[in-house]
């Protein structure tokens, strides 16, 4: 029962994506919408990404300091471990989980509202491929802008650790700075960026899918928005496991 239901949802999702990915009716219109979505979904997310990253960076540094008190470990371990946490998981996976909440609910409720107020029907009647017109700019905007957000998150996360070492002196700022440069693996940055591309696609497509298939009224729009956030979060974590296995092992 549950299996057949999931399979049929997956099939519906595949058909939806197939309809979404098409040559836009008018490139000029598409480009305008794409830029608008970058502003709305991407640029407007920069502040929250910065704030959260600074705090998590700071908390990581404190936690690492508390848990690496053994005299066998060099003091710069704090910086090194904070960097690894941020590059490997926080700035891609956790950040995208947060964005699934912020951006995913925004997309699902916007498209869902257009569905229940018959705006999507109006597009279809005019002969517009509504899935392509509405969803493709969002999907491309998310995928193309997510690396910017990830880089913001990585740098401000590391900055957060630095700030806490300056403010509280849990460790010497210079030791922290030495730590975040020690044994640096460039691939980890790429790994985070590559993962984030997949996560961005998942957020935009899953949220659009649930919004697009709302039927009923305002109540259903709210439900769709919740479902979008829950499903895309689970899918991000699942994809994280698979991508980590593929990219790091």
């Amino acid at each position: 029962m549950l299996l057949t239901e999931s399979l049929s949802t997956l099939g519906k999702f595949a058909l939806f994506i197939k309809r979404t990915i098409a040559i836009p009716e008018k490139w000029g219109v598409f480009f305008k919408r794409y830029v608008a979505e970058i502003m709305k979904l991407g640029v407007d997310s920069i502040p929250v990404v910065i704030v959260i990253s600074i705090f998590i960076g700071a908390v990581c540094a404190i936690q690492m300091q508390l848990n690496t008190t053994s005299p066998l470990m060099p003091r710069y371990t704090v910086g090194l471990a904070t960097r690894e946490v941020i590059l490997l998981e926080f700035s891609s996976s956790i950040m995208c989980l947060i964005l699934a909440g912020k951006v995913g609910s925004n997309i699902a409720s916007e498209i869902g509202t257009m569905r229940v107020t018959e705006q999507i029907d109006a597009l279809e009647i005019m002969g517009v491929n509504s899935a392509n017109y509405l969803v493709m700019p969002k999907m491309l905007a998310m995928v193309s802008f997510i690396p910017v957000l990830v880089i913001f998150s990585m740098s401000t996360g590391l900055l957060g650790g630095y700030l806490i070492s300056v403010i509280t002196g849990v460790i010497q700022p210079s030791t922290y700075v030495y730590g975040i440069q020690a044994m640096f693996v460039e691939w980890y940055v790429w790994y985070g960026l590559i993962k984030s591309l997949f996560f961005a696609f998942l957020i935009a497509s899953i949220a659009s899918f649930y919004g697009y298939h709302v039927s009923g009224g305002a109540l259903e729009v709210g439900k769709a928005s919740t479902k979008a956030v829950v499903t895309s979060s689970i899918m991000i974590l699942l994809a994280d496991v698979i991508l980590t296995k593929v990219l790091l092992q």
């Binding site: 008018k26 107020t117 018959e118 029907d121 009647i125 005019m126 002969g127």
Partner: protein, 261 residues
């Protein structure tokens, strides 16, 4: 002209439309009337291809919608304008943006020509001066008029209106009806209007199809409706004392009501 033949539509195994057959003529206002829940919206959405009926034919001047592929439907839709129950204006666009939208998507006009055409349509529905406003700043009647302007922007051959005066006061309703009727005659459009408003039925019902529980029970016009002899139709149209009085008067003065003997 649109010919509907034996159209059957079900949802989840429940048949909603039972072999509906009727015809909508060009250049006049064709009404589909019936109680709430009788299947008017389902019929209209089937006519424009938003629902896909299991059986039947829907001929747009001879071209069968149900035999068309996606591309052909898309081409046909460029000849169709539609007015939705809730107006369905794009919230993020101004009045001008809404009316220009179909032109931007589908016409090969220059920007200035599009603007001129959109302004012409906006003036046609008496909304000059409101072109810079957003839908949320307009009254229900004004939103309906913007939707009409948007629907006629590309000079449609066919115009579909789902309850164009639901939620409007009687005076505004009549203005909308008159506007739709004028536009229909002016441009020779095949106009199909869903309604359960008796003022519309008796005011612009040049051709009327009565849908009763998913079947087309009666067809005629506003003059014939007084003497239909159809029980369900009588109960539906002359449900209130006011309209029973109107009926009585019409039957006593058949010449005035245009009743043929």
């Amino acid at each position: 002209m649109i010919e509907v033949r034996n159209v059957v539509k079900s949802f989840d195994g429940v048949e909603i439309l039972h072999h509906v057959t009727t015809t909508f003529q060009a250049g006049i206002t064709n009404l589909i009337i019936g109680q709430s829940g009788s299947g008017k919206t389902v019929l209209m959405k089937s006519l424009v291809g938003l629902h896909r009926p299991e059986e039947g034919e829907i001929l747009f001047d001879g071209r069968d919608l149900l035999a068309m592929n996606r591309h052909q439907i898309k081409e046909l839709r460029k000849e169709i304008g539609m007015l939705f129950q809730g107006s369905a204006l794009f919230d993020s666009e101004t009045v001008l943006g809404n009316v220009m939208f179909p032109l931007v998507m589908f016409s090969k006009m220059s920007k200035a020509e599009m603007r001129d055409r959109a302004m012409f349509c906006i003036e046609r529905v008496n909304l000059k001066g409101a072109e810079g406003k957003y839908p949320s700043e307009l009254s229900g009647g004004m939103q309906k008029r913007v939707a009409i302007a948007r629907a006629i922007a590309l000079n449609p051959k066919y115009l579909f209106c789902d309850e164009p005066n639901s939620g409007l006061d009687p005076r505004t309703s009549i203005l909308i009806d008159e506007l739709l009727s004028d536009i229909t005659h002016e441009y020779g459009i095949t106009t199909v209007i869903n309604t359960h408003d008796m003022n519309s039925v008796l005011g612009i019902g040049e051709s009327i199809a009565f849908i009763n529980r998913g079947s087309c029970d009666w067809t005629g016009n506003m003059h014939q409706i007084y003497t239909s002899g159809n029980k369900a139709l009588e109960e539906f149209v002359f449900a209130t004392d006011l309209f029973r009085t109107v009926q009585k008067y019409a039957l006593q003065h058949p010449d005035e009501a245009g009743i043929e003997r």
